[in-house]
């Protein structure tokens, strides 16, 4: 009864009438919201009371020494690791802690691994085709046909990542840098709302690095991008806002200049250097 009445109220927007293509609710600004997140492995806290907010369309760099919890943080966002405590929201509607990896991926979270992982036995073309945003159920996949539209999109991405000539080669023969690019290409095919990029320029030449920086910057705005990187030069070249992680929690946050002049950050990095020396 009440449902019928509420249905008549045309001025309201109902969940089931909202467009399903992009269900992420970012009206309140942040696309990712992590609050008081803690993960412990056997008593060791890899993430300790972490609070992090990423705005829609933002490009954010995350830096921190080894073991600061960067990769674990990505594992939590993508559903690979479940935190011991805390909450993680995607937009203001989706609780990521209640979803599994494919659900989170379908929702629009793309991830590039630290070590490039592509499907080596499949061709470059197939890699991109599989990553493409589409109905990823069993029977749609079984009966899927190649259309001109899909072909065009794959060609477009192929030219962006510069692998057009190698389109029918198995991905296994690509060089390390090419694999990195292919993986980024797969992310582009996915059209995610939030891109998590783990050390994208490792093993790349100076030129490739520049192109990657360009690409990431151009993506920001349409999509939110979170980059974890060790290469300070690269971070400086793309970052507007930087977050420093240390021992599983946020140590400092701000522009690159602000952060690099923060005495706590200096101590962490220099202190680590001294220990190592």
């Amino acid at each position: 009864m009440s449902l019928l009445q509420s249905l008549k109220a045309r001025d309201r927007v109902f969940d089931f009438m909202a467009p399903t293509a992009s269900p992420v609710d970012v009206r309140h600004g942040p696309i990712l919201y992590m609050e008081d997140v803690t993960v412990s492995f056997d008593g060791f806290k890899a993430i300790n009371n972490l609070n992090l907010t990423i705005d829609d369309g933002e490009l954010r760099c995350i830096i921190g020494p080894n073991g600061a919890g960067k990769t674990t943080m990505m594992d939590i966002i993508t559903g690979k690791t479940r935190p011991t405590e805390g909450s993680v929201w995607f937009g203001s509607r989706h609780n990521l802690l209640q979803m599994n990896e494919p659900e989170i991926a379908s929702l629009g979270v793309g991830r590039k691994f630290q070590k490039p992982t592509v499907f080596e036995a499949l061709s470059v073309f197939d890699n991109l085709e599989l990553a493409m945003a589409a109905n990823k159920g069993i029977f749609p996949t079984l009966t899927a046909r190649m259309t001109g539209e899909i072909q065009d999109r794959i060609d477009e991405v192929l030219s962006i990542i510069g692998l057009t000539a190698l389109r029918f080669q198995p991905a296994g023969i690509l060089s390390h840098g090419q694999k990195q690019w292919l993986e980024i290409g797969m992310l582009l095919m996915q059209r995610p709302r939030l891109l998590l990029v783990d050390e994208p320029v490792a093993g790349m030449t100076e030129q490739e690095m520049e192109r990657t920086a360009e690409l990431l910057v151009s993506l920001a705005g349409k999509q939110s991008v979170v980059v974890v990187e060790h290469d300070m030069g690269f971070v400086r070249s793309i970052a507007r806002k930087v977050t420093v992680l240390h021992q599983g929690s946020v140590l400092a946050e701000g522009s690159m200049d602000q952060v690099s002049s923060d005495p706590k950050v200096v101590e962490v990095y220099l202190g680590a250097d001294e220990e190592a020396a």
Binding site: F119, G137, Q190
Partner: protein, 380 residues
């Protein structure tokens, strides 16, 4: 190689566009015709005559080949090494065996109108509930698909949901078939215990001992193999097939681009189990018996060897491997039975160490070499 032309066809007919499938089907068809002609048209006693025993033997090989294709589908393309596919084969076989048993009717040794001999022997009063319906061919044939499918569904659902993969999965599939073997050995299960089901007489009204029926079963096995092959080929050339390969090589990555890996694994596993069930159902009337030894872990692991020898992830390699190994087995056990296990053991070692891509890989290698040398370029 994906080109827009072949990829845009309807998924089930897509394999017909492939060169390899055309060759495979051509060879299979030719073999079926030749054997039939040599059996029927060439007079008995002639050197080229193929007798009923040999036809029967070939029919058995073909059902094994279908089983090997089913195993290759999950192992080659999905990376799941099932050491328990013999269980699905045997269950399909038992479903067929139960039908054949009910067809005997009151002509058994004890002449009971309904109960099979072994139940009369065990002093059973009435038919157990799960034996009902098997007097009807359609029901039994449906069970040939459904029973192994259901087992695979339940087992696979549990296993894939909790992400049991790799060696662990292999070990528990082996434990599964071992447990089933122990269970079927029990008389209380109602499947004839040790002796299993045997003394069959008729299938669909045809006398199982007549050579015409044997030829029919041989041809049916060939057709089933062709259909199973086309189905598997259709699956592996579809986008779903590429998702399977992706899962095999990088399961986590596949998840992170949005595929529910466990559902794909489950789907393919169930399809494979059903094919294995069909193979078992074709096997039983041709050998005339089904007993718990088909559940033995040794048999299941042997199937894997057929696939490994033929060449993993090619499907036709599985067929080659199944026929080669079983032919060798027939020869060996006839000439020097003691040597067979030595040969089989050595085959396991040699294939995995020296021939990881199997016969199919060897063929491809030779072809590539001949095509690269043919233009006249010197190769060392």
């Amino acid at each position: 190689m994906p080109n827009a032309n072949s990829a845009s066809r309807f998924w089930l007919t897509r394999p017909f566009g492939e060169r390899a499938t055309q060759i495979f089907l051509g060879v299979l068809l030719a073999a079926l015709i030749i054997v039939t002609v040599l059996h029927v048209a060439v007079p008995r006693g002639h050197a080229l005559h193929v007798n009923a025993y040999t036809v029967n033997l070939f029919g058995k090989y073909l059902s094994y080949a279908l089983l090997a294709v089913a195993v290759d589908l999950v192992w080659g393309y999905l990376g799941i090494l099932s050491l328990g596919h013999g269980a699905f084969f045997a269950i399909g076989g038992y479903a067929m065996g139960m039908y054949l048993m009910r067809q005997i009717g009151d002509r058994g040794t004890y002449g009971h109108p309904v109960l099979p001999d072994f139940m009369v022997f065990l002093n059973w009063e009435s038919l157990p509930w799960y034996w009902h319906g098997f007097d009807m061919a359609w029901f039994a044939f449906a069970m040939v698909l459904l029973a192994p499918g259901l087992l695979a569904l339940v087992f696979g659902f549990l296993a894939f949901r909790s992400r049991v993969t790799g060696v662990y999965l292999s070990i528990i599939t082996q434990a599964l078939t071992f447990a089933l073997m122990l269970a079927f050995f029990r008389n209380e299960m109602g499947f004839g215990g040790n002796n299993g089901l045997t003394d069959f007489r008729e299938i669909l009204g045809f006398n199982l001992r007549s050579s015409d029926t044997r030829l029919g079963l041989f041809l049916a096995s060939g057709v089933a193999l062709a259909l199973g092959y086309i189905l598997c080929r259709a699956i592996v050339t579809s986008k779903l097939g590429r998702v399977c390969v992706a899962t095999r090589d990088a399961e986590a990555r596949t998840r992170f681009i949005g595929y529910r890996v466990e559902r794909f694994q489950l789907f393919v596993f169930v399809v494979s189990a059903m094919l294995a069930g069909v193979a078992g159902a074709l096997y039983v009337p041709q050998v005339g018996i089904i007993n718990p030894s088909e559940f033995s872990p040794l048999f299941s692991i042997e199937i894997v060897l057929w696939v490994a020898l033929g060449g993993r992830a090619t499907l036709y390699g599985a067929v080659i491997g199944a026929i080669l190994v079983n032919y060798a087995k027939t020869v060996f056990t006839g000439v020097m039975p003691d040597a067979w296990l030595f040969a089989l053991g050595a085959l396991f070692v040699l294939v995995t160490v020296f021939l990881p891509k199997g016969v199919a890989g060897l063929l491809r290698h030779l072809r590539r070499r001949s095509s690269s040398t043919s233009p006249g370029e010197a190769t060392a």
